[in-house]
Symmetry: C2
């Protein structure tokens, strides 16, 4: 009577899939897609390769799942921007949230960077639809702030790019940042220094 396949989902299946995705995030974010092997991921997840392929049908399947899940949380801070609050406060909060994400989820940032760097072969449609319309919407809000004289007149889209670039830099180029700062300021304090600097740069730079 039920022609459709039953949606079997054991508790153990959910756990193992989660375990694999976490291991894969480690491997993919440091080696890129083509630079990563199923064996590496299986090793990191503490299981054999055929066992891993029992939960995901291919290497690309893991990667796709990871990227799709990532995009939601990655754009959450941008979603939170709205035009009811004070513009400067909103922008400061956005910059802070983005920097916190670079600090707390560097693997996700690098996975995303790897994908974009190589021409976004697997998420190009998402960028053109989902991301573009989201940026369009928020750019419209920011443009409104500029018209009201709340912040300086500039290109809102390039402002968003600049916030992305400066915050994600601390995740994607982490080794370079630490190498340049040296052992003294390359420790845990670098994110506090970055937060202070970025707030000053953007808030002073956007003062109407």
């Amino acid at each position: 009577m039920d022609a459709a396949a039953k949606p079997r989902t054991t508790r153990i299946q959910v756990q193992k899939r989660e375990l694999i995705l976490d291991a894969a995030l480690d491997v993919f974010s440091t080696n890129g897609f083509r630079g990563s092997t199923i064996d590496q991921i299986a090793d990191a997840a503490g299981m054999s390769k055929p066992n891993l392929l029992y939960y995901f049908k291919s290497k690309e399947d893991i990667h796709t799942t990871l990227i799709e899940r990532l995009l939601e949380t990655w754009l959450a801070p941008l979603h939170e921007i709205d035009d009811i609050g004070d513009p400067m406060t909103e922008l400061r909060a956005y910059i802070r949230r983005k920097l916190e994400m670079a600090r707390d989820y560097p693997r996700e940032s690098r996975l995303f960077a790897n994908e974009i760097l190589q021409g976004a072969p697997r998420i190009m449609p998402l960028l053109e639809d989902q991301l573009k319309s989201l940026v369009d919407e928020k750019a419209h809000i920011i443009k409104g702030w500029m018209r009201d004289g709340k912040i300086a007149q500039t290109d809102p889209r390039h402002l968003i790019f600049a916030i992305w670039a400066t915050t994600q830099h601390y995740a994607d180029f982490d080794v370079q940042v630490r190498a340049v700062l040296g052992p003294d300021r390359g420790g845990d304090g670098r994110f506090d220094d970055a937060a202070r600097f970025l707030e000053q740069l953007f808030l002073e730079g956007l003062r109407p």
Copy 2:
């Protein structure tokens, strides 16, 4: 009498090596090191794989040569900063030069980004010695400007990071930038818009 191997360098050797390096820059910058194959590079250079290996002894040899050569030209704009000119003019010129490099040498930028993203396994020593001391030197100059009240007081190293991040973003994340801007402003004009925005952001943001 001459115990050392003779420094054979035919004119054709120089040409072919240059041809290979250019092809390799194409391939490496879009696929990363592990994602690129010698066959791809040989194809792009219009020769057979054994022929390519006659000029470079391994895949890593090509990559190393490319990276070392890149680092010189890549840091040239930073080298040019000195403390004899007007601080604001110097900074504006530096930002403009870096943005021009992102526009004219996106392959080099992506090659560098790929290397750093994956933990800089092949150039870590260069970052800790060459790059660090260069940044230290320029940070000292900038600090001097701040003490003289020529520009606002901030962390000079994070200022340099911000300039790197925002300018290189237009090379490394090019597909995302174009996807978000759409066909209208995603064309050739995007670098002019970026230049206008970045000048305003940094110059206003750093006004003493």
